[in-house]
């Protein structure tokens, strides 16, 4: 054993120690080399990588443009809302040394307990809704690629849901996040349902067609103005970037270097506000007039301009329903309803115009030089033709054209048809001249054209029978039209024969009230005007309908104003078949909904000498036009004229058409209004704007 007390000669250890020094030097050189590579050579690369960690660019939704009525009362606005975001594969950020436990930074899919806990904080409309919610999270959880991102799982949280989730946020963990957003709100509900339309989540097909201009989950206009003017209403998204920590929470006081690395913010551009020509009070009056009616529609417009004043189809679904999950039961109820609440009866459905079509037949007859309107034709309650009896409502006795219209005599027009004064082709010319058989150009809700048969059409369709000409002469057979078309037609009769293109949008303004677009009245192009004499003759007859003691709508005439108009009672197709069926199976009968009854029409305008409003109304299975439809029209006319009277003393200047310059050629093309976007502020200086603002404030 060597002593510890004596110094030793350790020269023999030198080589070993030198070897150790070499090993140490080599090891440290490797470390330094690697540091040099990471920090000096690739420093920028890793700096970018670090930025990607903490820079979070959030898309800022642009507030959607609002929709107002003619007096700036809101029909569609935005309300603050909360959207629930879930990251189904979050990173664990707790540091744990436990063997087997996930290390910090590991992505661990949330467990079923966590989903259940979140589910328990939300109120669902039914079990389907709940299953859909959980299914969305679960399927997202299985998705390794997308599951790592926060996804909007449920929008428009209620206050209770918001409060419950926020209260439990820390116990739930950082995979749950609530972000502020906006929800669409329609303050008038079903009243303006078909006009405003509604917004809903974009479909996968829509997303594909949009080629990147929309994101999944975006809400877009589905129907109505919301859809037609989507490009104006949507605005432009903004971008805001923030510094987030590893839990994706905003950092209150980030290091200055981090702030400097943020890309610049882009403010969203709010969507543009749309001011409609629609008068909310008139719309409500129309709705009141439909009280007790299951299904029907009415359109009121200004004859001189084509401005739509009221446009209502009942029944309608409150568009606010589409802003949240719809219980399956409720949806089933809508789908199976005999009243078809999804259909806009003003433009999406076409009906036999019935006797309201007789004005077309009359004009067609007047164009025949051999036709004498004063000639009286005896009505014996029916005529025989081709072995069939064509009936009339009464035995009218001898009637000339005027009285035939006033009393709505069918036999008169049957006879003209039998005498070949009224041919299908001649009637078609005049029907088209008055705007039938073509879309009106409103551009809303996939408008239907209606149908005006010609000889060729009947031959092609194989529906040609010898009696078809007779039926067509009284608006049956294969003749169909929409309520809007009839309103336009009677508007044309009111204004002296000009068919106007109807429009709903009065003007569009940016959020800071710069005028973007202003509608101007426009006559339908390419239509030959109606001869003045002929128009006057019809006009006189229409006054007679309401004001002549023999007139079909005499009982409905209002006291204050002279109305001109025409009743119509349209037989329902296959009515006989239905009658039979009804006998066979004992359907539950709905009160006021007798499917054996005819559709009731009334179309007219007032005041007769200087028309301010033209209205067409249809009541499905309402029976006789004078009883069911005429009161509705009269109520609308009354309400509107009374409101005009009220405004006259002080607001005359604000009303259209005063002060509105005549349209310039090509200034407005309603059919492609969306793409034909005028330059900002290119329109006329808007005199109405200040008044509109005042009223908006007063709201």
């Amino acid at each position: 054993m060597s002593s510890i007390h004596k110094p030793e000669d350790l020269r023999s250890l030198k080589p070993r120690l030198q070897a150790m020094v070499v090993v140490v030097m080599i090891a440290f050189t490797i470390l330094l080399g690697r540091l040099c590579q990471l920090q000096v050579l690739d420093g920028d690369h890793y700096a970018r990588k670090a930025e990607r960690n903490f820079v979070d660019e959030v898309i800022v939704e642009a507030p959607r443009g609002r929709i107002f009525d003619a007096r700036s009362r809101p029909l569609a606005t935005n309300r603050p809302a909360y959207t629930l975001y879930v990251t189904p594969r979050p990173r664990v950020m707790e540091e744990s040394d436990e063997p087997g436990a996930p290390r910090a930074g590991t992505r661990v899919p949330i467990d079923d307990d966590a989903i259940e806990e979140l589910t328990s904080l939300i109120t669902f409309v039914d079990d389907d809704d709940r299953a859909k919610f959980q299914g969305a999270i679960r399927s997202r959880r299985e998705d390794k690629v997308n599951g790592i991102y926060a996804t909007a799982i449920r929008s428009n949280l209620s206050w209770e849901e918001y409060a419950q989730i926020t209260a439990r946020e820390s116990s739930l963990g950082h995979w749950v996040e609530i972000r502020e957003s906006a929800r669409r709100f329609y303050p008038r509900g079903a009243l303006t349902a078909f006009v405003t339309g509604y917004v809903g989540e974009i479909t996968p097909e829509g997303l594909e067609n949009a080629r990147g201009s929309y994101r999944p989950g975006d809400r877009v206009g589905k129907t109505g103005i919301e859809r037609q003017w989507e490009n104006y209403l949507r605005g432009r998204l903004g971008k805001r970037s923030r510094v987030v920590d590893a839990r994706r929470r905003t950092v209150a006081d980030p290091p200055p270097g981090a702030i400097a690395a943020l890309p610049p913010d882009e403010d969203p551009i709010p969507g543009q506000d749309i001011y409609l020509s629609l008068d909310l009070e008139l719309q409500r009056a129309a709705e009141n007039a439909f009280e007790g009616v299951h299904a029907g529609a009415v359109v009121a417009l200004e004859p001189d301009t084509g401005r739509i004043l009221a446009m209502l189809s009942v029944p309608a679904i409150d568009p606010n329903h589409w802003q949240q999950p719809i219980p399956r039961e409720l949806y089933q109820e809508w789908v199976s309803s005999p009243f078809k609440p999804f259909i806009d009866r003003t433009i999406q459905e076409h009906f036999f115009p019935g006797s309201t079509y007789k004005v077309v037949s009359a004009l067609a007859a007047l164009s025949d030089p051999t036709f004498d309107p004063e000639r009286e034709i005896p009505c014996e309650r029916y005529v025989r033709y081709g072995g069939r009896r064509f009936k009339c409502t009464h035995k009218h006795g001898p009637v000339d054209l005027h009285m035939a219209l006033v009393q709505s005599c069918n036999v008169y027009f049957y006879t003209l048809a039998m005498e070949e004064i009224l041919t299908l082709d001649r009637m078609e010319v005049f029907a088209r001249r008055l705007g039938l058989g073509e879309r009106t150009g409103l551009g809303l809700n996939s408008e239907v054209k209606g149908r005006i048969p010609t000889e060729a059409f009947e031959a092609r369709e194989g529906t040609y029978q010898r009696g078809v000409r007779l039926n067509s002469a009284i608006g049956q057979g294969n003749v169909t039209a929409t309520v809007l078309q009839l309103a336009v037609l009677y508007g044309a009769l009111a204004n002296g024969g000009r068919v106007m293109t109807p429009y709903l949008v009065d003007r569009i303004e940016t959020h800071d009230h710069k005028l973007v677009f202003k509608s101007a009245p426009q006559q339908r192009a390419g239509l030959e005007p109606v001869a003045n004499d002929d128009r006057d003759r019809i006009h006189a007859a229409l006054i007679g309908v309401v004001n002549d003691e023999l007139g079909t709508a005499y009982s409905e005439r209002p006291e204050t104003v002279t109305v001109a108009g025409k009743t119509g009672t349209a037989q329902v197709a296959a009515l006989d078949r239905r009658r039979k069926k009804k006998k066979d199976d004992d359907e539950l009968e709905i009160e006021g909904w007798d499917t054996t009854k005819d559709h009731a029409w009334f179309a007219g305008y007032a005041p007769a000498d200087q028309p301010k409003i033209a209205v067409a109304a249809l009541v499905e299975h309402g029976g006789v036009g004078a009883d069911a439809a005429a009161p509705i029209v009269m109520h609308v006319i009354d309400t509107y004229l009374a409101s005009l009277e009220q405004q006259k003393p002080d607001q005359a200047r604000r009303r259209r058409p005063a002060g509105v310059p005549p349209p310039l050629p090509g200034q407005r093309r309603p059919n492609d209004g969306v793409s034909n976007r005028p330059e900002l502020g290119a329109g006329e200086p808007d005199e109405d704007a200040p008044a509109a603002e005042e009223e908006a404030k007063a709201e």
Binding site: M1, S2, I4, H5, K6, P7, E8, L10, L13, R16, L17, M20, V24, M25, A27, F28, I30, L31, L32, R34, L35, C36, L38, Q39, V40, D42, G43, D44, H45, Y46, K49, A50, E51, N53, F54, R91, M93, E95, S96, D97, E98, P99, G100, A101, P102, A104, G105, T106, R107, K144, I148, V244, D245, A246, R247, P254, P255, P256, G257, A258
Partner: protein
């Protein structure tokens, strides 16, 4: 050196103490504490202060050990080793369990890891044993078996805790000490290949899954970016994000915003690299390098074999910790729990390192000048 009056006791200490070691230690500790403050919650609170207390405690231990004649250490080596083994044996019985691992003994409010202390005790006992071997006798198998038994005994205790990292460190330190006097180049190579075979066998059969996948993750972290690879990726990103001059103290986004986990324990160097950049890293590395090279220098000028072995042991203690930890941060080595001296929180570790510094000072006082 001036002739004349003999220096006073204080003057003698001032003359004999290895100020180079003291200054290097203070330098490393200062950087480490500043960095720990960044890595933790900041504002010199909580973990930073408790670590500070351990460092102070360690410094006192270092002063005491440094003041001792290392012959005392020589005499106590076997006793101390036995006591250390005794403490290790206590751990499975009364140890404190944290996160499924039983590594700690509780002493009042303090918790202590005997396995840490074992590192320095192992150096002592090996130095004593190797010093005592007759110089002329060479290559006897039994003489070689004993030192490995000294290593194997504590490692057996530590590996069941389980604590793989400390086991590996103990083996590396012990082997380094033995390598100074006893191991021929052939033996070292043989040991290396045996170790490799054992490692492979162990990896296949014995190692737990999480340890095995660490190797896969190390080789290809991007493939495990959502799992264990996250740590490695973020560590590399933090280091690279530092650039040449660093982001500044407390300004590293990776660390401050929580993207880099384990910044206080296993990855403090990533925090340091992000905030101080290449310049800071070069400084920190050179402090460690100087300490290690100086220890080897002290060993080469030691008065006797025991002193030389102690100095090499201290050098190995720092060297392996620094290389394995920083190597792991820089993705040169797989992720393990090996700490960075003074930078990682851990009281027992700091105390052990300080005792090592004390031993170095003690040996250095009597070096040949």
């Amino acid at each position: 050196m001036t002739l004349g009056t003999p220096p006073s006791a204080l003057g003698r200490i001032a003359r004999d103490v290895d100020w180079f070691v003291v200054i290097l230690t203070i330098g490393v500790v200062a950087l480490a504490m500043v960095n720990l403050n960044s890595a933790g919650a900041g504002t010199w609170s909580g973990k930073v202060m408790s670590q500070g207390r351990w460092v102070v405690l360690g410094a006192i231990a270092a002063v005491i050990v440094g003041a001792l004649n290392y012959r005392v250490v020589y005499r106590l080596a076997y006793v101390a080793y036995a006591a250390g083994i005794g403490l290790l044996a206590l751990v499975p019985l009364i140890g404190i369990k944290r996160n499924d691992a039983r590594r700690w003994l509780g002493i009042g409010d303090y918790q202590f890891q005997p396995s840490e202390l074992m590192k320095v005790l192992l150096v002592m006992v090996l130095a004593r044993y190797l010093h005592d071997l007759p110089r002329e006798r060479k290559g006897r198998p039994l003489d070689m078996l004993a030192p490995f038994a000294f290593i194997g005994l504590p490692v057996a205790f530590i590996i069941v805790q389980p604590d793989l990292s400390t086991s590996i460190i103990c083996i590396l330190i012990g082997t380094s000490v033995i390598a100074l006097t006893r191991l021929s180049l052939r033996t070292i190579l043989t040991l290396l290949s045996v170790g490799l075979v054992l490692f492979t066998l162990g990896w296949v059969s014995f190692m737990r899954d999480y340890q095995r996948s660490r190797i896969d993750v190390w080789l290809n972290p991007e493939a495990y970016a959502d799992d264990e690879g996250y740590q490695t990726i973020q560590a590399i990103t933090s280091v690279g994000n530092g650039g040449f001059f660093g982001r500044g103290a407390g300004q590293g986004t990776q660390n401050k915003l929580g993207f880099l986990p384990y910044g206080e324990t296993d990855f403090p160097f990533a925090v340091f690299a992000e905030e101080w950049g290449f310049a800071g890293c070069a400084l920190g590395l050179s402090l460690f390098l100087c300490l290690i090279l100086w220890s080897l220098n002290v060993a080469s000028r030691a008065r006797d074999r025991f002193a030389a072995l102690l100095a090499v042991g201290v050098a190995a203690l720092f060297f392996w910790h620094v290389i394995i930890n920083i190597g792991m941060v820089l993705q040169l080595l797989p992720v393990t729990g090996v700490t960075l001296p003074f930078f990682s929180v851990g009281g027992s570790n700091a105390l052990t390192l300080m005792i090592g510094i004390g031993l170095l000072i003690s040996v250095s006082r009597e070096r040949k000048r």
